[in-house]
Symmetry: C2
Subunit: 370 residues, 2 copies
């Protein structure tokens, strides 16, 4: 990596510390990164990706890994949240067995959040845990999914219900791959970036506010290294303080409680994760205002930022409020039957609440119907 | 537990310390044990068991848990190693969802090693990890499987390839349940007890040698509290020093390298795990003698103990030596293509070797054919 200028962000976990590297051109440096930086000495690797990503970047990735001395096999899975199932994990495990991965071997996830979650969970559960290296190719995965060790698949009745904590050996982010990302997915990633602004980093929030547009690649590109560094830094700091979500880490679920219900009820099809998070943040912001936790002006600023990014601020058509309320009960964060909400108290600050009155919730969701 | 005299053995892990309690009558004390000793405050529990065990002990277990204030659901899975599959994990997950287990909830495994492995793995992978309490009902599970956090299921092409490390909150051993254990399974458990004698505890080995018979419950019963305490102590000490099997813990696999191959090639049917371990220990003992690592007299003493327990000392009929050698390559412990063997150097002492010449191995296995 002699020629690359990288931001290096430590994820300072006591048991499994690792680094996030952010640099244009990193994709062609995967081999040295794994061998010299992640210390992966075992020769066998399994690359997990999806057809489109692999078509764009597979040859470059495998060339770099092979040149560094690795023996690389691949497992290409169909794209999409609806394939994030135990069946796909079986396919990765079959490939791991065919390629005879050993305990010191690793899986390299090249793709978005779905690929990263599945590859990570397959690694967590193969030979009772082998290494995984995350090479996120969507903005969403770069700033969120690839960092922090949450892995898993969906249960037919709920998102991410099946999973494990399994930290990567290294996270390698090459921002240039976002050029080929569909704009709708770019915006989805921006939802998580806005989230970090609201929950952790007021300066990031203000930087986003200062941008004239946020709804297309050309306008986001100049901010990208900053956006990635600040977002990854926020995530790394939170995760390092609370790896297993005993407390603080729950704040990363800002907007996610309702997002998961919306995604589940729409069958993970019409609304993508970032869009659902945008809707969830609008709802959480309104709840916070209703409970007098933050200023209406803050709620308006958040809403303006979400709209500037061309993300949705209303529920998708056809959802019954009763179904959303019911679906919330299946959330992983339910404690003694109480749904947990992360609610903002200022730009850059949130708190955790588990007693949001159902009638407040119903009223806000009703107002958000299209 | 005021009336129970229990041996309490700490498993002193830095992250997840817990205790093994051994006491006659513990089965009727499950509720207070979970509430007051394991600190399980969340009310929802899922008991995982098999039909026969649940018929014998289910009512007593559930009565005790319910009396302690728990809301208990059950998931009863068919008995047998061939049901130790991802499909059974799905069934446990479905039951967890139906009963709305939360992150603070726990699964209570009441059964042998198969139930414990599956319940543990289901707990490891539900909501990214919920608690599990192990209530082993076979000697094998009491002295081995229930302790140390190894969980998992079988892949069609290899035993325990799918799994995770997930430590229990507590291990509760009631020796009186062994009265109903079929004698063949009791002997299978004795194979692991003999293992601890060979690898760790010469005094235990000598105590077993002093017993006139070891092939039936009546003769083992008077030694049972000692056997359980010494075996659990050995396992707990090894696990505490090396939770994730980076080094020392591998010695617990004494006899297991060949055992796994034998079990896999016989389809987990004709030979049970303990019998396979007995066969594996005979083979490992012969390898150690062939490599001049221990005295032929030690090998003879080990063989005599295995025979006194009415465990097999020869390979089952119909196995091709080439298939065994090939199957060894799929072992989880293979490192850079080298099969790892645990070989005794004295009674109570072993070492790890990864360079056993294939011709030595072939010769010894050939001599062990029936």
């Amino acid at each position: 990596m002699a020629d690359l200028v990288a931001d290096l962000i430590p994820v300072a976990l006591p048991q499994n510390p690792y680094e996030i590297a952010i640099a244009a051109g990193l994709l062609d440096d995967l081999g040295p990164q794994l061998r010299d930086r992640a210390g992966l000495k075992n020769r066998r690797l399994l690359v997990v990706s999806n057809p489109l990503i692999f078509k764009h970047y597979g040859d470059r990735a495998i060339a770099s890994l092979t040149a560094a001395g690795y023996d690389v096999a691949r497992c290409i899975l169909p794209a999409g949240e609806r394939y994030k199932t135990p069946r796909s994990i079986q396919k990765i495990h079959d490939a791991a067995l065919d390629h005879r991965l050993e305990r010191g071997s690793a899986i390299v996830a090249i793709g978005g959040g779905v690929i990263g979650d599945m590859a990570g969970f397959a690694a967590a559960t193969w030979l009772r845990g082998i290494g995984v290296v995350q090479v996120p190719t969507s903005l969403l995965a770069m700033v969120d999914a690839a960092i922090g060790g949450k892995t898993g698949v969906n249960h037919p009745r709920g998102k991410n219900l099946i999973g494990a904590f399994h930290q990567p050996k290294r996270v390698l982010i090459d921002p240039t791959v976002l050029k080929t990302l569909p704009v709708r997915e770019l915006r989805a990633g921006m939802a998580e970036v806005i989230k970090y602004g609201v929950i952790w980093d007021a300066a990031l929030f203000e930087q986003l506010e200062a941008a004239p547009r946020l709804d297309r690649y050309g306008d986001i590109a100049p901010l990208l290294q900053d956006i990635l560094r600040c977002s990854c830094q926020a995530k790394a700091e939170v995760v390092a303080q609370d790896e297993k979500e005993a407390g603080l880490r729950a704040i990363l679920n800002y907007g996610h409680t309702i997002a998961h219900a919306v995604e589940s009820l729409t069958g993970y099809r019409s609304v993508n994760h970032g869009e659902a998070v945008a809707i969830g943040m609008v709802a959480a912001g309104a709840i916070a205002t209703a409970l007098n936790l933050w200023e209406p002006s803050c709620e308006a600023r958040q809403r303006a930022l979400i709209e500037k990014t061309a993300l949705p601020v209303a529920l998708p058509p056809g959802l019954a409020i009763a179904d959303i309320l019911d679906s919330l009960q299946l959330d992983k964060k339910v404690k003694d039957g109480q749904v947990q909400f992360i609610l903002p108290t200022a730009i850059g600050q949130v708190e955790i609440r588990d007693r949001v009155p159902t009638d407040v919730l119903r009223q806000i969701l009703t107002a958000m119907q299209p």
